[in-house]
């Protein structure tokens, strides 16, 4: 600051110096509360997490020691964690595309309606407002092998009843189905907002330019114009897919090898009180989500026009 005013005006320099210092102090005083809050609420927990992750600390233990990267190495040898990783990847592989494209389809259909739009919006949005834990019990009933209406329908069609929550291979796909069901409404509302923002002129210009078929108009105008919305939906859907927890905790409790990342983490941290190890898993989880979100954003940004 003072360097900006060299000895050109020697007499004025000290006064200006004092004033500049006062202004800096005042500025810092104003910025301090926000900065402190930022550090205390966001950065400190992360630092503590990183600290825990290199120790063998167990919640409530009186002694702990530094173990370096052992926790991370252990994670990648831990069959439970690796299974959780695979399960989460499968879950995300189902929920992300279904959650995006089904909601886009629903949004296009709802956007086309005139009077019933509000009704559809509410209907699709209900799962978002309902607690997933509460709704999971409903799903448990719906999918019950003997009591559930889903299996009643399957038997009525002449097939053998399916134990959705009893067959290990079906556990993750079933959870993914519930996850998709839950997320579609939210994504649909986002897509509806995106659709509403597309100027009507563009679609009309496309019609005159020769886009006779609705699919043509979708490809020429709607889909490119939805770029920013799609990017946002893709990123948020991916994050929530990786964060799947409630349905696992309520419906399967991780049995038959159905742990997901967050559930494995929860077991380590809260059931087994392995705070150090859980912290390492959390960091891995954060890294995965971060890398995916940033990668997705960079990849899509090239294609998206704002």
């Amino acid at each position: 600051m003072t360097a900006a005013f060299p000895a050109a005006i020697p007499h004025a320099a000290p006064r200006r110096d004092a004033r500049a210092r006062r202004m800096i102090r005042r500025g810092l005083a104003f910025a301090a509360p926000a900065a402190v809050l930022l550090v205390v609420i966001y950065l400190l927990p992360l630092v503590m997490l990183a600290g825990f992750s290199v120790t063998d600390y167990q919640l409530g233990a009186l002694r702990w020691s530094f173990v370096g990267l052992k926790n991370f190495a252990a994670a990648f040898r831990d069959p439970v964690f690796l299974r959780a990783l695979g399960n989460t990847a499968l879950y995300a592989a189902i929920v992300i595309p279904c959650g995006i494209f089904l909601s886009l389809g629903a949004a296009l259909l709802v956007h086309g309606t005139r009077r019933s739009r509000a009704l559809w919006e509410i209907a699709y949005f209900l799962p978002v407002t309902a607690t997933l834990v509460a709704m999971a019990t409903v799903w448990q009933f719906l999918l019950h092998p003997t009591l559930g209406p889903v299996n009643a329908a399957i038997t009525w069609l002449g097939a053998a009843p399916v134990s959705f929550l009893g067959t290990p291979a079906l556990l993750i796909p079933t959870l993914a189905l519930i996850g998709t069901w839950q997320i579609i409404g939210f994504n649909m509302v986002l897509f509806l907002a995106g659709l509403t923002a597309i100027p009507k002129d563009l679609t009309e210009a496309a019609r005159l330019d020769g886009a006779r078929h609705p699919v043509d108009r979708f490809l020429t105008v709607t889909w490119p114009m939805l770029g920013p919305t799609t990017m946002f939906v893709a990123v948020t859907t991916s994050i929530s897919a990786f964060k799947v927890f409630e349905t696992v905790a309520v419906l399967t409790k991780g049995r038959a090898g159905s742990e997901t990342l967050l559930y494995a983490l929860y077991l380590e941290g809260f059931d087994y009180s392995n705070t150090g190890y859980a912290a390492a898993l959390t960091l891995i989880f954060l890294a995965i989500v971060l890398v995916l979100s940033i990668g997705q954003t960079l990849h899509l940004e090239k294609k998206v026009h704002y």
Binding site: P199, D201, L202, E204, A205, A206, R207, L208, D209, G210, A211, R212, H213, V215, D216, L219, T220, V221, P224, M225, G227, H305
Partner: protein, 383 residues
């Protein structure tokens, strides 16, 4: 391609309980520049959208080149439209924007797909589209902008891209919906000239919607002046200016707005204004309105008839011409503007008493319903 005619017969359209078009009959000649002009809400844009097929008329027919297209999809009407917002595809470059109408019409869906489409398109066809795009860009002097995106262009440049996209294929007619209203005044005047030149060069049929009478007057072969869902008058700009069929047309056309003076005809048809005889005769008795263009008023000798006594409020010099606004003495709140060349002499001082005179043959008479009536001077000379 030979220019096409556009024929509208009995077009009616309502939105809810509001009737915006009340039976429009209009025959647009091949190669004509026709302006649909009127206040906002008069139905001109709706009419254009009905021609384009973007809106469906409740009744009536649209024919292009003699073929009825009333129920035909906009794509198949082969019309090009320039929107007020330009409606450029923001995710495409200028080149892709201009090529879109050709790609849509000449390529099959598979050929339009990214990557594979390129392989499926015969090189000759691709070259033809590229050449047509270049030519359209040359015509509108935007060849250097072809690789930019619309967001990187100024309003005037976007306007040109929109025009290029319209003329890249040979449409049956060009439809323009207030294309210049988003430009600044200077650019608008410039684009007016260019549009008129473009029309001459292409020789195509242009239907041009505007609320700006100056645009309509300067570019059009004919103007259809619309008001309240009807065509009030269809004619050349000169006809609308010289012989407005009613008060609506008289008020809309011309700047400054025509001076309107309330007058009264006695049983014999002799007209008087504010109790003063005007030495003019109407076809019948009753209240009427006298319309006088600014350039038809002059500062006259003290007792010249016909005329009005007035007091000068202000005078504005616009280069070669001067507009003098006067308050009519016999009426409260009634002003009249006269236009005189600056070369006619010094401007009358504000506050000066003047006599505003006019020649009977320049005055327009409108009856109580606003319809034009024949005006004779008391000496019997037809106006």
């Amino acid at each position: 391609m030979a220019p096409h005619s556009l024929t509208l017969s009995g077009i009616g359209k309502g939105f809810g309980s509001t009737e915006v078009l009340k039976g429009i009959d209009l025959a647009i000649r091949p190669g004509e520049f026709l302006s649909l002009v009127g206040m906002s809400g008069c139905g001109k844009s709706t009419l254009l959208r009905i021609i384009a097929g973007l809106e469906t008329a409740d009744r009536g027919q649209v024919a292009i080149g003699g073929t009825d297209v009333t129920g035909v999809d906009p794509t198949d009407r082969n019309l090009a439209m320039v929107f007020q917002s330009y409606a450029l595809y923001p995710h495409m470059t200028v080149r892709e924007n201009i090529a879109t109408p050709l790609r849509m019409r000449e390529l099959r869906l598979a050929q339009r797909l990214p990557l594979i489409g390129r392989l499926l398109t015969p090189p000759a066809l691709r070259a033809r589209i590229a050449a047509a795009v270049e030519e359209a860009a040359e015509t509108l002097q935007i060849a250097t902008l072809l690789d930019r995106r619309p967001a990187q262009l100024s309003g005037g440049q976007r306007q040109r891209v929109a025009l290029a996209r319209a003329l890249v294929r040979q449409p049956a007619a060009f439809l323009m919906d207030e294309p210049l209203s988003n430009l600044d005044a200077k650019l608008r005047a410039h684009m007016r000239d260019e549009l008129a030149a473009l029309h001459r060069r292409l020789g195509a049929t242009f239907v041009y919607v505007t609320h700006d009478q100056v645009e309509a007057m300067t570019m059009s072969d004919r103007i259809a002046l619309m008001s309240d869902g009807r065509i009030e008058q269809l004619g050349t700009p000169d006809e609308l200016y010289r012989a407005p069929v009613n008060l609506t047309v008289a008020r809309f056309i011309g700047a400054p707005t025509i001076n309107l003076i309330p007058v009264e005809a006695d049983a014999g048809g002799d007209l008087s204004a504010f109790g003063q005889a005007l030495m003019l005769r109407a076809p019948g008795p009753g209240p009427a309105t006298l319309g006088l263009r600014a350039e038809d008023l002059r500062i006259a000798a003290a007792s010249d008839a016909p005329g009005f006594d007035a007091r000068v409020l202000r005078s504005e010099t616009h280069g070669a011409d001067r507009f003098v606004t006067c308050a009519i003495l016999a009426a409260t709140d009634l002003t009249a503007t006269l236009r005189q060349p600056v070369s006619a002499g010094p401007a009358p001082a504000a506050g000066a008493r003047v006599r505003l005179g006019f020649a009977a043959q320049h005055a327009h008479l409108f009856d109580a319903d606003g319809c034009r009536k024949m005006l004779r001077s008391a000496a019997g000379v037809a106006a």
